[in-house]
């Protein structure tokens, strides 16, 4: 059964970096797994705890927030705020009983199409190994 498991991964992508990098990956014809569902946000700092939690609650197996490289946030420090929020939510997931590794903060620039594709692939592989989220597993 586990071999056939196709994880659902939600990626909150900042408009100024990761979202553009995803575009770049597309125009470079780089292949990345279709498991990753992109949600464009105006800044990674705009992603709220509740957005991350609702993604898991509604059935995501993995979630990542993708913001600009350190010091490069379009809005000064939204990416730092996002990192702290993600760290906090990782601790909360642990309390809930969901593996914190299912959540990640990543950083890239708008030109890093290759990095975008690589992260999408790595995240998909990591979650595939972890298996379905405990919430999905319980519902099955």
């Amino acid at each position: 059964m586990k071999e056939q498991f196709e994880p659902v991964i939600v990626a909150f992508c900042c408009h100024y970096c990761a979202y553009t990098a995803a575009d770049m990956a597309g125009s470079q014809r780089l292949v990345y797994p279709p498991n990753v569902k992109i949600i464009r946000v105006p800044c990674s700092g705009k992603v709220d705890s509740i957005h991350i939690l609702k993604a898991f609650e509604k059935g995501a197996d993995g979630v990542y927030v993708a913001g600009c490289l350190d010091g490069d946030c379009h809005f000064k420090n939204g990416n730092d705020k996002a990192s702290r929020k993600v760290a906090q939510m990782m601790r909360y997931l642990e309390e809930i009983g969901i593996e914190p590794e299912r959540l990640e903060m990543v950083k890239m620039s708008a030109g890093m199409g290759e990095r975008f594709a690589r992260i999408a692939t790595e995240m998909t592989e990591k979650i595939r190994k972890l298996g379905p989220s405990p919430i999905k597993a319980a519902a099955a």
Binding site: E57, E95, A138
Partner: protein
């Protein structure tokens, strides 16, 4: 403001274990400002509780609501239309709000979802420190605006103990000695004479030592 922190999820889950329908209540005042029990935190807790149940193959019916102020009967009255559809109430307000609910809805189990910490202020974004212990007879006018009760572990009234060293309290390196701060401030204000005045033993009755405290404003009370 009154500061608070969310209780561990495990403790909250244990409280609500026997119940199926929960009314989860935030408060728009202090606990919103200290990011412990406002609308946002209510949403985060509701989702966490729901996921904890879902992963065990069950689910829970949580209704989220945030009152303007949970420690005032006027606002608590708002809950009347929704209280019957809940088996239990979970409050993210400070202990005052929780008790207001318990007094109003006597046949409903009411549980706290936060630990009420102290009366304090914000040092910077995300950091709050204790400032006042509500002693009922404020001394700040004599101590340069720095409270020797809330900020000195020993509640000393007449200068520092022997543990004050280089401005730091003996209880820990990250704690300023309140009396060092008071002295420096009085010096800066040219009020060191005030320090020389011996403060008499403090009457702790207004601080709560005389039993639960109450304020009655004759002009307002009906």
């Amino acid at each position: 403001m009154i500061t608070a922190e969310r209780k561990p999820l495990e403790e909250i889950l244990a409280y609500i274990k026997p119940f199926k329908r929960i009314l989860l209540l935030g408060c728009n005042e202090c606990v919103t400002v200290c990011a412990a029990g406002g609308r946002k935190e209510v949403g985060v807790l509701a989702s966490g509780l729901q996921m904890s149940r879902l992963k065990d193959g069950s689910s829970i019916d949580i209704r989220e609501h945030t009152l303007e102020r949970q420690c005032d009967p006027e606002y608590v009255e708002e809950l009347v239309p929704m209280i019957d559809s809940a088996d239990a109430v979970l409050s993210m307000a400070c202990g005052c709000g929780v008790q207001q609910l318990a007094m109003r809805f006597r046949d409903k189990p009411v549980f706290p979802a936060v630990n009420t910490k102290f009366m304090g202020g914000s040092d910077r974004h995300g950091v709050w420190t204790e400032r006042c212990q509500g002693c009922g007879d404020c001394l700040l006018g004599l101590t340069g605006g720095i409270c020797p009760i809330a900020k000195c572990a020993k509640h000393l009234m007449n200068g520092p103990c022997g543990g004050s060293a280089g401005g730091v309290c003996e209880i820990g390196d990250d704690v300023d000695c309140a009396w060092h701060l008071i002295w420096e401030r009085l010096k800066a204000l040219g009020l060191t004479d005030q320090y020389m005045e011996i403060m008499p033993a403090k009457d702790w009755r207004p601080a709560g030592g005389g039993g639960p405290r109450k304020i009655i404003r004759e002009d307002l009370a009906e």
